[in-house]
């Protein structure tokens, strides 16, 4: 165990898995010589060589498709998007090829590939570079979508994603790369996909949060504890497949739920979770499910406007108070 940043934890995961399996290779913009736009891939070129750590041209559709083709022929690519905003260019290959290949080939061609990179808001990078796209990818059967919130989760889940035999969309949060936490150095340390983590136990209300919103939700829970409201914070970690069971069990216990996300609310992951809760735990709800989402506008540049667009501790606290009927 060592205290490392999420950036380092991801780096460890890639390094360990590439050392473990020669069929794993890494490609993306600036992953090699530049050492990674966000330094996640630092040192990998030197250690693993240019055959396996490959700088690509800025050609997202092309190298995403190339990765899928390589996976069809037996390799296990890790494709880095410098940010997930650029994955929009590659969605044809992710959705039409990676997500569907196994199915439309009648089970013959699975696609063991990881598309990873930072997603969500960063620091004043404006509309085109601040998008949380998990609901896009989670929409499609055939894809798995993972969003870690701690260095340990980042490492354990990325290792599982690389070992997984299906296409995995692994969305890191740019603002969280420097977050520190204890991380196992056991090369066999993995965290299974599809298993939610209870980040904090509580009994009065459940806060479901992912990625950037997990530390925010935990701070909200701390504030609420002082008021005598005990919050359970659940991080699904994998958006698809979603561990709805853990969420529903928590809701059955607390009877109230707030879902926090930095993404837009409309057709979002929180909307899906809310719907699942309604279908599975309707008779346990003491209040309507409450969402706290990013503001439904493109991300502005100005600092004050950007701040206002991303959910804060106070909003989660207010939402919990609302579902718990606290004046």
């Amino acid at each position: 165990m060592a205290i490392v940043t999420m950036r380092e934890a991801l780096n460890q995961a890639i390094r360990e898995e590439m050392q473990r399996d020669d069929n794993v290779f890494l490609m993306g913009e600036e992953v090699a010589a530049y050492q990674g736009a966000y330094k996640v891939t630092k040192g990998l070129l030197e250690e693993l060589g240019p055959k396996r750590v490959i700088d690509t041209p800025i050609t997202e559709l092309g190298f995403a498709g190339l990765g899928v083709g390589a996976a069809m022929a037996g390799l296990r690519p890790i494709v880095e998007f410098m940010t997930f905003n650029f994955s929009i260019l590659a969605t044809d290959q992710i959705i039409n090829s990676a997500a569907k290949m196994l199915y439309m080939s009648g089970g013959q061609f699975n696609i063991p590939i990881v598309f990873r990179g930072p997603g969500g808001s960063a620091f004043q990078v404006s509309s085109q570079h601040s998008q949380a796209l998990e609901s896009w990818f989670a929409y499609f059967p055939g894809l798995k979508v993972v969003m870690p919130s701690t260095p340990a989760d980042a490492k354990g889940l990325l290792k599982s994603s690389i070992r997984d035999n299906d296409p995995v969309i692994f969305i890191e949060q740019e603002r969280m790369y420097g977050n520190k936490g204890e991380v196992s150095d056991d090369p066999e340390f993995t965290i299974p996909l599809g298993v939610a983590d209870i980040k904090r136990e509580g009994k009065d209300a459940t806060i479901v949060a992912r990625s950037l919103m997990v530390p925010v939700a935990l701070k909200a829970a701390e504030a609420l504890e002082k008021e005598g409201v005990s919050c359970e914070v659940i991080d699904p970690r994998t958006i698809r497949p979603l561990d709805i069971h853990t969420i529903v069990e928590s809701v059955k216990k607390t009877n109230r739920v707030v879902i926090a996300e930095e993404s837009h609310p409309f057709c979002g992951v929180a909307a899906e979770i809310a719907s699942e809760i309604m279908e599975r735990a309707f008779d346990y709800l003491d209040a309507p499910v409450k969402r706290v989402s990013g503001v439904d506008v493109p991300m502005p540049y100005a600092k004050n406007l950007e701040d206002a667009a991303i959910p804060k501790v106070e909003q989660i606290v207010a939402a919990v108070r609302q579902v718990a009927y606290i004046e």
Binding site: G65, G69, F109
Partner: protein
């Protein structure tokens, strides 16, 4: 390396010299010129002004006959049999589609047989093929049985994709046929990736990637060309230029219509090939395959062909005239090749009849198999979504 570059340059020069003949201002639509046009927009007659690079039928036959010397009889007969099989298979598919046995889209290959058969006859069994949605011929040529292809068209469990892919998504891992792909140009980056993998694994396998000329306008084509040459990937890109992207002629869709010239931008070796001459396609492919196998180098082949049927079975065909189709049918690749074979005495009339009977029987057998094959089990709806499914914890 130097040799490769000079070769590319030479090919580029050749393409350039051809450029002047392509300089013809696109004609505006000939409204009312043909009473067969329902839309009022009629594309330029693709054969009105014959491409000088395309030999007249007599010249094609002469060239084929010269090549006979380098090929054994069995190979020639096999190529002929394959072309005929694909022709008969597609005719049967049209029949089955009309009878409602085949659903969805059904893109027929009639007229283009020389491309798939000629090219795939040039590769090894362990080489890879990826193609577009007009793929029945490629699937059969690569070694999927006509039964499995027909059953797939029928949406039956015995289909090569177990009824889950259909006309556009044939797959067979056993014969390294990596699919028909339904998004125009979508298979080009995939094939590039397959070639990347074979190089990564240091095998000498080659990947053939087929696509129509309309795919050349997609970013996926250009991104792939760039990476393939940049990383020296053993992929042969075969553009089947049948001169229409669905109902839109090349002229109405592409600023520079000499597709082989597109390779210049990426310093990729390229060739223009007469796609009605099966042996010309085979030879050009052999050259490209050797380049790929020996030197991990990609090639772009522009293979000029023509489809005799509509884009799909639901194509009203109002963008071209009957006369245009008939002119192209004079250069029917099957007719040209069978004439050459007969005229050279390689196959007798009787043998030809026998082959035709065999082929018809094979197609009938494919239909019988498809008819008799069971529908996929209802639970197949939920299988193959994930290789590592995570059971839902209720």
């Amino acid at each position: 390396m130097a040799a490769n570059q000079s070769q590319a340059r030479r090919l580029r020069t050749m393409a350039k010299s051809n450029q002047d003949v392509r300089k013809r201002a696109p004609e505006s639509s000939r409204v009312g010129a043909e009473d067969t046009s329902a839309t009022g927009v009629l594309d330029h007659d693709a054969a009105e002004e014959a491409d000088p690079r395309l030999d007249p039928t007599q010249a094609v036959k002469a060239a084929q006959k010269r090549r006979f010397a380098e090929l054994d009889r069995a190979t020639l007969i096999d190529i002929y049999r394959q072309m005929l099989l694909v022709r008969r298979f597609e005719e049967k598919s049209a029949e089955a589609y009309s009878a409602g046995k085949i659903g969805g889209f059904c893109h027929l290959y009639i007229g283009q047989e020389a491309v798939a058969i000629g090219a795939i006859s040039a590769i090894r069994k362990d080489d890879y093929v990826l193609t577009s949605y007009r793929e029945h011929a490629h699937a059969i040529a690569k070694g999927i049985s006509p039964q499995a292809v027909m059953a797939e068209l029928y949406g039956k469990a015995g289909g090569c994709s177990h009824g889950k892919g259909g006309s556009m998504h044939m797959f067979d891992k056993e014969v390294n046929f990596l699919g028909g792909h339904g998004i125009v140009g979508g298979q080009i980056p995939l094939a590039t990736g397959v070639a990347f993998a074979t190089k990564y694994k240091e095998t000498d396998q080659v990947t053939l990637c087929f696509f129509g000329e309309a795919a050349v306008n997609q970013g996926a084509f250009h991104e792939s060309m760039n990476m393939a040459q940049l990383w020296k990937l053993p992929c042969v890109y075969i553009c089947e230029n049948n001169q229409y992207g669905m109902g839109t002629s090349l002229e109405r869709a592409m600023s520079l219509q000499d597709i082989s010239q597109k390779a210049c931008a990426y310093e990729i070796a390229s060739e223009f090939v007469d796609g009605m001459d099966v042996l010309a396609v085979r030879e050009a492919t052999l050259r490209a395959v050797e380049r790929a196998r020996k030197n991990y180098l990609p090639t772009l082949l522009e293979v000029r062909t023509y489809r005799f049927m509509g884009h799909s079975m639901s194509d009203p065909g109002n963008y071209r005239t009957r006369a245009e189709i008939e002119r192209h049918q004079e250069r029917d690749p099957l007719k040209l090749f069978s004439a050459s074979l007969k005229e050279e005495g390689i196959i007798s009339e009787a043998e030809m009849k026998k082959i035709d009977d065999e082929v018809r029987a094979k197609v009938e057998e494919a239909v019988r198999f498809a008819e008799g094959s069971p529908l996929p089990e209802p639970e197949e709806l939920f299988t193959n979504v994930y290789a590592d499914p995570i059971p839902e914890n209720e």
